[in-house]
Subunit: 449 residues, 2 copies
């Protein structure tokens, strides 16, 4: 199976809208799955969106607001009548509703919140930062009691009407609403109707506090293969649950941010093609300028060795080759280390192990590259002293780059700085200036200039 051809369906919807055939457009949209509906909806003109949204089935409109970009959803809600917004938001999952209300004007948010059927499901979610466990959780969950029978529990499941038709686990609370166990739907089906929940539940349940960072939440759920994770307050009172689908989105989003940062840019807030050129410019220019200033050091180093350069112009032929190789070696190291830290293959405590690891790798790579560089320099017709200079320089530079690539991200991490600041571009820039210094120092010694 592949996705439906959303481009073709989009044209059909646009055609219908152009002919003012709202009914047909709605009909086409409503046959699709939520993710596809949102995809197509997002590509329509603003005015088409505004005229369509209030006329779709309320559940479809709610799904669309959940699946399109947060900023687009907020902009749209500001443009439709408030009673329509209330009707749609009532059908959204509480965590998604809270995210949306957090993105619109506080006055409008308050007004909409007051008119919701279950404001108490949404209000507590508004206080948690978006990127914390509390920001990820939904307050729409079914909690079983310890002293319920399985029959009562099944009855509770039957009468419960969630927005999403899926139960992952059922969490069990005591009389003070404190989390005390977990039951899977399968256990509920298997057990005798008269059994007490406390007799079939697993009391060893993993939970997190509302303030935990979403990256840690994801790590935990992946590690223990959890489909849902309960969130509790300081007193272990159950506040909500985090489901795996929301966490998968977090995992993808965090990896995207890391990749963009490793490329030397601030991560984008929206998908690439939906971000305009000026916003992309803003995300990139600060790093580019900072690196430019740092890279200026290379000029200072070169001016310092102006005499040597004038004496042996051939020295300059090898500049890009040497510092380029150093930058590449540094990039290789840094991306490996940063990812190992991100997925938990390596902890800060392993810093020394990593540095020792990279020292050995650097010695191996440096030796190999020195051999190749020596031969390359000779075949270019360079005198043997210059060839030796180049080979020695590349050896030291590669070892140095590997070391730097291991030390800097672990150091950043140790000081609670996001290690992705040591991106590929940052590494090559740092290696450029220091590499030149190494090169000319060796040149002075070997060539006696």
């Amino acid at each position: 199976m592949t996705y439906p051809n959303t481009q073709a369906i989009l044209s059909l919807v646009q055609d219908a809208l152009e002919k003012d055939d709202l009914k047909k457009a709605i009909q086409i949209l409503q046959t699709l799955k939520p993710a596809d509906q949102a995809d197509i909806f997002e590509d329509l003109d603003d005015e088409d969106q505004v005229s369509l949204l209030p006329n779709l089935k309320t559940q479809v409109s709610a799904d669309i607001l959940e699946n399109i970009e947060d900023e687009d959803a907020a902009r749209l809600v500001a443009k439709i009548p408030e009673e329509t917004a209330v009707r749609i938001i009532n059908e959204m999952e509480p965590d998604e509703a809270a995210d949306l209300l957090g993105d619109i004007h506080p006055k409008q948010a308050q007004s909409i919140l007051a008119q919701l059927d279950n404001p108490e499901e949404v209000r507590p979610l508004l206080i948690h930062p978006d990127e914390s466990a509390g920001g990820l959780m939904t307050s729409e969950f079914l909690a079983l009691r310890r002293r319920m029978t399985v029959r009562d529990a099944l009855q509770a499941v039957r009468s419960w009407q969630p927005d999403k038709d899926q139960i992952y686990y059922l969490f069990v609370v005591d009389a003070n609403l404190k989390l005390c166990g977990v039951v899977s739907p399968r256990q509920l089906i298997i057990a005798e109707p008269d059994t007490l929940i406390m007799d079939i539940m697993d009391p060893d349940v993993i939970s997190v506090k509302a303030g935990m960072d979403q990256e840690k939440v994801a790590e935990l759920m992946l590690r223990y293969d959890l489909l849902a994770l309960p969130v509790v307050d300081e007193n272990n009172v159950l506040l909500g649950i985090i489901t795996i689908d929301d966490v998968m989105d977090v995992v993808v989003e965090e990896a995207t941010e890391d990749i963009q940062k490793l490329g030397g840019a601030q991560p984008l807030d929206e998908p690439y093609l939906l971000t305009n050129a000026a916003s992309i410019f803003k995300k990139r220019i600060s790093w580019l300028l900072l690196l430019f200033v740092t890279e200026s050091l290379t000029g200072t180093v070169l001016r310092h060795f102006e005499g040597e350069l004038e004496a042996v112009v051939a020295l300059s032929f090898f500049i890009p080759l040497l510092i380029g190789t150093g930058g590449n070696a540094g990039s290789q190291t840094t991306s490996t280390i940063i990812r190992a830290l991100a997925v938990g293959d390596m902890e800060i405590g392993d810093a020394l192990k990593a540095i020792w690891h990279e020292t050995r790798v650097g010695l191996l790579l440096g030796t190999a590259m020195a051999g190749v560089a020596f031969i390359r320099a000779l075949t270019w017709g360079s005198p043997s002293t210059l060839s030796i200079t180049v080979a020695l320089a590349i050896f030291v530079i590669v070892v140095w780059a590997n070391l730097l690539g291991a030390v800097l991200p672990t150091l950043a991490s140790r000081f609670k700085i996001d290690p992705t600041v040591v991106s590929g571009p940052v590494m090559s820039t740092l290696v450029d200036a220091t590499g030149l210094f190494i090169y000319f120092t060796i040149a002075k010694a070997v060539l006696g200039i």
Copy 2:
């Protein structure tokens, strides 16, 4: 909650083993969750592993083999008595058992397979490549029949004894075992016992063929928030199901591979700290050498402009600055584009959009950087003609780097080459040689040398 202190528990286990107190070591291990057991087990000496594994509860041994690195599991199985291996593998999930058998000597695999309780669950899984839908799926699933009543279905769930205590969805097949619908556990609990499954099932079920690439599988499950995805053959006969926990591992693994490749290295097969220096060397040296050869072009360009360099040595001061900035701009672009392609924010069909996008971003960045470079050159006391040369060169180089950063990954993707080949290091290397050519061509024209 955080992880248990595995370092401390590891010491306890090691202590017990040193005192030959196997019983205590086993006792400690068996109180932990599978992921933690595997973590600690992996850090033990080989001989301790070999003496522990046959003596743990069979289910614990099976969990450990599922959770440690594939290579380690295979090595371990080769060292324990075959009847012990059979006993443990019998308790493993069929997809994990198949992966393991695929990693050991074919002769031993055949012999173990023949002794399993349910070889027919494992054998068909052996034929699928690891990175395909077939390689990800498990054959241990419960298929309901269309004409079953809900009562019969609940009975089937009760008598089904899976290795993993979790039902995601229940898939429904017709008399020819063809996939025809899906039922959630909640629907089964809610429905009247006499209802037929075909009356409550959702016939619109998403499925994939066994050959689909695991990256596509992950994209599909994320897009439609699926907890389980059925795998079918050419005739729509249900072969197995893929569960979300296996796919989450794929998502993390693929992002790790992409990040390592974007850093200019072949991805590692095992976690970083478990990979020895020689293996890391092998994963990096080929790219480093290839880039070295390409980077050699910079030497050719510089020798070509030897006369100009000798006439104005100051030209060389700006070499690292100019090509470094170009490489950074290219890296920024290429990492954004590659990630947009990977997560589906951008399709190959959007190539022209992306190129137009980056042209505009490049013009903005180029203009800003040219201004800064001009001022920097002047404050270094460079003559105004040289400053103009540098400013013009940086403008052209940045626009060129952005363009190249957009064109190359989309081009690779179009020709079915993994776009991550255009890593940061590849970009900077390509921009280095071409950037120098741009710089000296502009210098010749402006300075009239």
